[in-house]
Symmetry: C2
Subunit: 457 residues, 2 copies
Amino acid sequence: MTIDTAISELSAFLGDRLSRSKSDLDAHGASETWYAPAPPDAVAYPESTEEVARILAICTAHGCPVVAFGAGTSLEGQTSAVAGGVTLDFARMNKVLAIHQGDMEAVVQPGLTREELNRELRDTGLFFSVDPGANASLGGMAATRASGTTALRYGTIRENILALEVVLADGRVIRTGSGAKKSAAGYDLTGLFLGSEGTLGIITELTVKLRGQPEAVSAGVCAFGAMSDAVETVVAVIQMGIPMARMEFVDADTVRAVNAYSGTDLPEQPHLFVEFHGSDASAAEDAARFGELAAEVGASDVRTATRTEDRTALWTARHHAYWACLGLKPGATAVVTDVCVPISRLAEAVEETRADIAASHIPGPILGHVGDGNFHAILLVEAGNEADLAEARRLASRMAERALRMGGTITGEHGIGLGKLGYMEAEHGEAWAVMGEIKRTLDPAGILNPGKLVRQN
Amino acid sequence: MTIDTAISELSAFLGDRLSRSKSDLDAHGASETWYAPAPPDAVAYPESTEEVARILAICTAHGCPVVAFGAGTSLEGQTSAVAGGVTLDFARMNKVLAIHQGDMEAVVQPGLTREELNRELRDTGLFFSVDPGANASLGGMAATRASGTTALRYGTIRENILALEVVLADGRVIRTGSGAKKSAAGYDLTGLFLGSEGTLGIITELTVKLRGQPEAVSAGVCAFGAMSDAVETVVAVIQMGIPMARMEFVDADTVRAVNAYSGTDLPEQPHLFVEFHGSDASAAEDAARFGELAAEVGASDVRTATRTEDRTALWTARHHAYWACLGLKPGATAVVTDVCVPISRLAEAVEETRADIAASHIPGPILGHVGDGNFHAILLVEAGNEADLAEARRLASRMAERALRMGGTITGEHGIGLGKLGYMEAEHGEAWAVMGEIKRTLDPAGILNPGKLVRQN
């Protein structure tokens, strides 16, 4: 009962779709952020649910770890094969299986990326709304409970997945949910697998909700003298029920980074980037009401746009923010934080975080999905510089503790992976033990993404 | 280890807050619909989470069944004490613990009803959106994954509960979720307990999302020559992205019942009842766009209203529909069905159901939340008439099978209780076994609402 015997069996079964090439192992053990490489012992490229089921049955029989891999864009080391074993790369399970236009649903395989899905939908008048920034795979987005800039209006992945097909550790294949928009038929297993980061089962098919492409889109950008004014605007807008499609905050540091990176000339102040979806009339009305509210709290430099190219130009600063921030410290890698707090504590949380970062020796621009109370500091560390990394982790730790103290969560959308494991007990207390009990029930051999999410024995 | 010894211990602990009076037992063993009375052996009235925890620890130690009870408005026998034991009545845990206006959240106890909560919110400009019709308790709504007429715009209970406090079978108290609007911090235990019908744990506190009261509300009613035209309108409206607050369907039988019950004079045809929330301008624009779409497919007798009293009058037919339907057969009780199908199959599902009922000897008006693909036939049976009941169950069974065949679910919002247990295997296959595994992990002694939701041993 070893990894090696499992791999021998898998190799006989999958032939050249089980790779042990160094480049493959390295590519699958790498992290998008600062985590140390942790390559698997082999990479499997399954082509069907049946193959995944057989792989898992073999791995359970031999106690071989299994890590699911989509586009590799997770930020907390979710795909690191810290216990070795086999990585399941879904590159060959990346099809759109069905588009049900009348039902506004699509059935897809986990390796499909969200941009690929939206390309396929281009002529249907529909789109898939969840947009975490990266061109992530749908399977990965489901497994990490992704959200992003449009969650405010259309919800996170949790509100946009209707059904799943999942292979359990022992090779059983189950279906959760249905094609109906809602159900009260027993435990919400769909919801249980969303955000389980490959520790409870492997997602092999997803039924996703689609949205009608809005008739009209308008966008706006405005600058504020203080971050708290931006947040005050956000709160007012939400309470008024103005249906914002996106509402993004960037701090002065981020604006400075973007001006340098993209050649824009935004004032180096906190900004809100907003977008409205609706009819011609409602999108214009919403934009006007937003503008009034922002002006009341002293917003300046308000710019708006409705034509696609103008909107794209307007939002450039936000779209390029992550790469622009990395450019603030050449050769740097990022410790990306991801706290989410009740809106009433948002201004305080961001201000305290900004003060913390200002007092440290590393740069850390702040940006976020403020309508949800979710923000990130992009803490920039020189690769291999232990002092930088220690400082970034100290700052990240203080952010997590602050979020919990304010009634929030250690992660709004990036998930646990390796990076947040240390705070799970603090956030969940005994509920974390319950997560472990569920994990052991569904994966008694502990083969599914070991080292992640639940308490390690 | 018996129910009696548990009750003795509970009696010593709770004093006169443990009732064994016949009227109390009968009231808690009764069903809102057709299920046979199944009274518990005792009714406990806890006043705190700590008391609930101690009660559960005692009941686990003695193998005594525990059934949670809110307002008793569930429709599938969820609160029937089919194995006896103790019913926990949350009448004394019915407080609003906090209203966080800036965060648009409230923290409440499970015994509070939704109407009580909305009364408390009256002066805040906020409201709790989930409206299943009955004045259900929040704990019960959470436990049965309730939804209702506003789910289309504001979501079901699943999208409106942020956090829970839950007492587990062994007396451990856990907290799930947080005050943040979203989180990716591990398994979604909040979602797992929503819809678990008291079989996994007892909810003792809920953090609920509130919504801003819309500046303007407009309403409309229109008649269609055929049900399929009404559904065609629904599909068009959703695809256009018109943000409907409510969109309800009633069939010609329901209209006839309402006309008789409420003295209205609606044409005896299929109708849609719609409501729009927004600004003055957007609510009016949405109503106008809806009217155009409905007219295109031949809607007639379109009536609209914006003033509160006019809207209320307009919606009378829908609000009174359930009682009006019961009036079709004096002295009757109802077998209330609750299927939900993909929208593209809705017309077909309703037509087949209507034809089935027309060929039977019992009346069964149809109405539903068509924007979600969810509809109910109110199958009227004479109390004690076995032939009526057998026929109603045959029709209900055909509806459930039809919904599954069309890719839907056996229950959109009423839950499993006693009534849908027989279809769980058909809907979920092996996933139902997984539900049982989770149940046994969290409640190994099987004390929590035995006889419900999972496979019975």
